[in-house]
Amino acid sequence: MKRLLGAVTVVGLVAGLVMAFGIAPREATQGNVQRIMYLHVPSVWVAYLAFAVVLVASVAYLARRSEPADRLAHASAEVGVLFTGLTIATGSIWGKPTWGTWWTWDARLTTVSILFVMYLGYLLLRGMIDDRERGARFAAVLGIVAAFNIPLVHFSVYWWRTLHQPPSLMKPGPSTMPGVIVAALLVNFAAFTLLYVYFVTRRARVLRLEAEAEA
């Protein structure tokens, strides 16, 4: 199952690269640098997904004290932090040629940085508390509180005047982008979602083995 999921994920990622570099056309305004979008936008999608899973798993843990739910929250938070970091880094690389700067304290960039730091804090909190049950409880509370930042990040481009463009796909109503660009994005969304599932499954297994080794 693990190998099958891994193989399907690799196929998805290769398909995503083919769509991004082979099928999607060169964007008229930005040129080929816009191809970073096929990496940047799916990365932030995975970050949103990961932190939403942390929220649900944290609620489940507090309600039932279920260890698998706690491991799912932990694994998902770690993968979410990884993809948030990737989102920030790829956005910065994209920002330099298009905005003329690596970084600016724009509303979207600031809120996503806060999101990153909050979940980094979540992981540090888990590592700092020796009592596993207590650490899981505190982390679950933080996992619920931190999730309130997700809509703040997403809607920041509407609520404040920002340099960052509004959402390309994750918005109500039909997309204004050409169909081939939407298709390339959707293939990469699917591939990154598979990668998320693969990473979380493996990380949760590692966490289970660690707990068994400590017991």
Binding site: R26, A28, T29, Q30, G31, N32, V33, R35, I36, L39, H40, S43, L82, G85, L86, A89, T90, I93, W94, K96, P97, L195, F199, R202, R203, R205, V206, L209, E210, E212, A213
Partner: protein, 57 residues
């Protein structure tokens, strides 16, 4: 004609490959270490090895 800035594209994708492959390798290595430790503990405590499904010939 807009400049293509391919170096930025390769930097972004290259960084992503390095980060994701490094994380994947960390997961594989950690899982292997823990699985080997688990096998050694089972041997040490005299516990039976987990049996895989047996197939009839």
């Amino acid at each position: 004609m807009t400049a293509d800035n391919w170096s930025f594209v390769f930097a972004a994708y290259g960084l992503a490959v390095v980060v994701l492959v490094t994380y994947w390798r960390f997961l594989v290595r950690r899982e292997r270490e823990l699985s080997e430790g688990d096998t050694l503990r089972r041997h040490g405590s005299g516990m039976p090895e987990p049996q895989t499904e047996r197939r009839s010939p």
